[in-house]
């Protein structure tokens, strides 16, 4: 690991700083959707969808979006945290935050990093603790799975609730449209001596 390793790692760190991590992405979002959506904030250099090999099937996509400049990545992150940003659907917004080194599967070695390990056999005084740590890791994995389930449930619930609200809203507008169209509104207006013609704005009610 000589100077080239150093340079490579420095270049990689630079790339990480230029990269935005996006999640809550719909499976319909493709590279071109991301590119067109973000090109107003800067040039998108590359898009990498993080593959989901082991997680549950229905978790949202996430992606690493490399911008041309660090500044542009900052703009994307700040804009997307200011406004709910919709991609390939609404109203669930996508999220963006700064990428981290560990999000890249193909990253270069960190210069100077050393790894050591040892084999412990069952007679080793630490073997029991090690087994405990293994069990703990499994417990934590289960906890994570349960938490994820919980989150997905919450999300489904919110989506359902919003779907109903939207339907109700839509029905309301349809009804108003219908009343305007079939002349009911006009008849009522005449009855109550109100003007409903188009030139009248809200001022009519003052």
């Amino acid at each position: 690991m000589g100077a080239t390793g150093m340079d490579e790692y420095a270049a990689f760190k630079e790339k990480v700083r230029r990269t935005v991590y996006m999640d809550n992405l719909s499976p319909h979002v493709t590279e071109s959707v991301i590119r067109t959506a973000l090109d107003q904030y800067g040039t998108v250099k590359s898009v990498h969808f993080i593959p989901n090999y082991l997680g549950p099937q229905n978790i949202p996509q996430c992606a690493l979006v490399e911008m041309e400049k660090e500044k542009q990545a900052e703009v994307v992150i700040s804009t997307l945290s200011q406004f709910p940003f919709m991609m390939s659907g609404m109203p669930r917004p996508v999220r963006a935050r700064a990428a981290e080194v560990e999000m890249f599967a193909d990253r270069p070695r960190q210069p100077g990093k050393q790894i050591h390990f040892r084999w412990l056999d069952p007679a080793d005084p630490d073997f029991e603790v090690a087994s405990k740590l293994k069990r703990l890791a499994k417990k934590h994995a289960t906890e994570t799975a349960v938490m994820l389930r919980h989150q997905l449930d919450k999300e489904e619930k919110l989506a359902k609730q919003q779907g109903e609200a939207l339907k109700a809203n839509y029905k309301k507008y349809e009804m108003i449209d219908g009343l305007m169209a079939d002349g009911t509104a006009r008849r009522l207006a005449r009855h109550y001596n109100l003007r409903v013609s188009d030139d009248a704005g809200p001022s009519t009610f003052q």
């Binding site: 690991m1 809550n24 719909s26 319909h28 493709t30 959707v33 067109t36 959506a37 993080i50 989901n52 082991l54 997680g55 229905n58 978790i59 997307l80 406004f83 709910p84 940003f85 919709m86 390939s88 659907g89 609404m90 109203p91 669930r92 917004p93 560990e102 999000m103 599967a105 990253r107 070695r109 990093k113 050393q114 790894i115 050591h116 390990f117 040892r118 084999w119 412990l120 056999d121 069952p122 080793d124 630490d126 603790v129 090690a130 087994s131 405990k132 740590l133 293994k134 703990l136 890791a137 934590h140 906890e143 999300e155 919110l158 989506a159 919003q162 779907g163 939207l166 339907k167 839509y170």
Partner: protein, 537 residues
């Protein structure tokens, strides 16, 4: 021999450079033979095994037996092929090849060898011969684990049979060249290299090279049929442009099965004559053969720089590397701190195009050789994990860290590992349950078989709402345009309100994940504190 090498500056040729000149053709003095060349930063010597990309999904594997440049500066190599089991499946009979077993093509007939362009080489391949033939220097167990492929039988293209007794000559080349290289060539101990040096003249990079006297190409190629290996149409068509001018049509012999025989039997007059010529020149003299110890063939490469750094208390026991490597999976290195060093052949992973990782994972899952390794440090790189597995299990694997994403705990890093075989994967899992592989910072590794998640069909996304009536009109026009589907919400819409509700949920979920991860980190630390060994972090 008096030919001046007219070498144009090599720019667009992937850094191609010929090595030492061996001689010119006897009759056709326009052809110059060489003993080595450098291509894409890799040095290839005569008798190296190489992957060829001939337009097939699976790279072909062959042994370079000649390399030469014709009058038009076309660079070519003559290759004796190895057959994959799939290529000769009709003739396997009850022979059950291992997954990484290949067969040396032999006998007289088409398919044994042919001439290819240097440009179709994609990289070196590490092939080990496991034949018990007394002429074959036996491969060590470590050699085998490092090998990409092995062979112990050859496939006679005339008899159409798999044979385990090797003839003296394969396609006019001494069979010794197909066996493993002699042990003394192994640059395990630098000091004895010098003794092999016989002569050092006019050879670049000699400081790190050793010379080896090799009796080259003893016999000429008498086999007329050897020039074309008719494996596939694609392959043939790729070669065709080069040999078109001197192609000779002979009746097809149909010695090979299936669609492969449908290719017209094209014969390369050009190369045939060159075989005869080279014989004249080469037969007489022993040829000096350089061997760069740094780029010597892959089967011996990995060990020379590998050292195991052990605690002082034990370092004396293990200074013999051979001893260390020969051990049964490191049982005797229990409780000793081992440092994982980078392998010298780490660049191999970039050698040539392979199947995409996703597909390789699927294949490995089918083969049962896919496992996950959990409880790694999340900051490890994929290459470091590969090194770790090599040092711990002496298995060459492909590894990839799973990226940290929204729901992953920063305390745990996980990697997917593809072993070479199901047995190796099972053995690793077994060892990790029976014993414990502890990283220096107090992480016992956990391995298990994984089942990959099939990519979800494009279902509706939770949280994206549509109004049925509106949807149909919209989808046709607007939805196709990506831009119209992405926008920042404005505060005067119902969409904005609903979007904000999602934001709140996202914030909440961030908090509960953070709480969970903090608690987990604390729990881990508490247990880790009970360890008697000292942790490095």
């Amino acid at each position: 021999m008096s030919h001046l090498k007219v070498k144009k500056p090599e720019e667009k040729n992937h850094g191609f450079k010929w090595g030492i000149e061996k001689g010119v053709g006897g009759k056709n003095r326009d052809i110059i033979f060489y003993e080595s060349f450098t291509y894409e930063g890799e040095e290839y010597l005569v008798h190296d095994c190489v992957y060829f990309d001939l337009g097939q999904p699976e790279a072909f594997i062959g042994k370079l037996v000649k390399m030469f440049e014709g009058p038009t500066h076309v660079k070519k190599v003559k290759v004796v092929w190895f057959m994959r089991p799939s290529e000769i499946r009709n003739y396997l009979g009850d022979y059950e090849p291992r997954w990484n077993e290949i067969f040396l093509a032999s006998g007289r007939g088409r398919g044994v060898s042919n001439i290819n362009l240097v440009e179709s080489i994609v990289g070196k391949c590490n092939v080990v011969c496991t034949s018990n033939d007394r002429r074959n220097p036996q491969a060590s167990e470590a050699d085998l684990r490092w090998a990409d492929y092995f062979f112990c039988c050859h496939f006679d293209v005339r008899e159409l049979a798999i044979l385990d007794v090797f003839p003296d000559m394969v396609d006019g080349v001494k069979v010794e060249h197909f066996f493993n290289k002699k042990k003394e060539q192994k640059p395990l101990g630098p000091p004895n290299l010098k003794s092999n040096v016989k002569e050092q003249i006019g050879i670049p990079n000699l400081s790190s090279t050793k010379l080896k006297v090799v009796k080259a190409i003893g016999n000429t190629v008498k086999d007329d049929n050897s020039c074309s290996r008719v494996s596939s149409l694609v392959k043939e068509s790729k070669i065709a442009p080069v040999i078109m001018s001197k192609k000779l049509h002979l009746p097809s012999e149909n010695t090979l099965p299936g669609p492969k025989t449908s290719v017209p039997n094209s014969r390369n007059q050009h190369c045939r004559s060159s075989h005869c010529q080279v014989q004249d020149e080469v037969d007489k003299a022993e040829v000096k053969f350089t061997k760069d110890s740094l780029t010597s063939s892959a089967e011996i490469q990995p060990y020379k720089k590998r050292k195991l750094f052990l605690d002082e208390r034990t370092s004396g026991k293990f200074d013999n590397l051979d001893h260390q490597l020969g051990q049964d999976r490191g049982i005797n290195i229990d409780n000793q701190l081992v440092q994982v060093l980078g392998r010298t052949d780490a660049h191999r992973r970039n050698w040539f195009y392979r199947l995409p990782w996703g597909q390789r994972l699927e294949r490995a899952q089918e083969a049962g050789s896919l496992i996950s390794l959990d409880n790694l440090d999340a900051s490890y790189t994929s290459a470091e994990v590969e090194d770790l597995v090599w040092h711990a299990f002496k298995e060459k694997v492909e590894a990839k860290m799973i990226e940290q994403s929204t729901f992953s705990c920063p305390c745990y890093g996980k990697a997917l590992i593809i072993f070479k075989s199901k047995e190796a994967a099972d053995s690793a899992i077994y060892q990790l349950t029976q014993r414990c592989l502890m990283l220096a910072d107090g992480r016992p590794l956990i391995a298990r078989k994984e089942t990959l998640v099939k990519p979800a069909k494009l279902a509706a996304f939770v949280g994206h709402l549509t109004i049925d009536k509106v949807q149909h009109q919209r989808q046709n026009e607007d939805m196709k345009k990506a831009k119209s589907t992405s926008h920042a919400s404005q505060p005067n819409s119902i969409e904005y309100d609903m979007g904000t509700e999602w934001r709140i949920l996202q914030q909440k979920s961030d908090i509960w994940w953070k709480t969970l991860h903090e608690r987990q980190a604390k729990e881990i630390q508490m247990v880790r504190n009970q360890l008697k060994m000292k942790c490095s972090s």
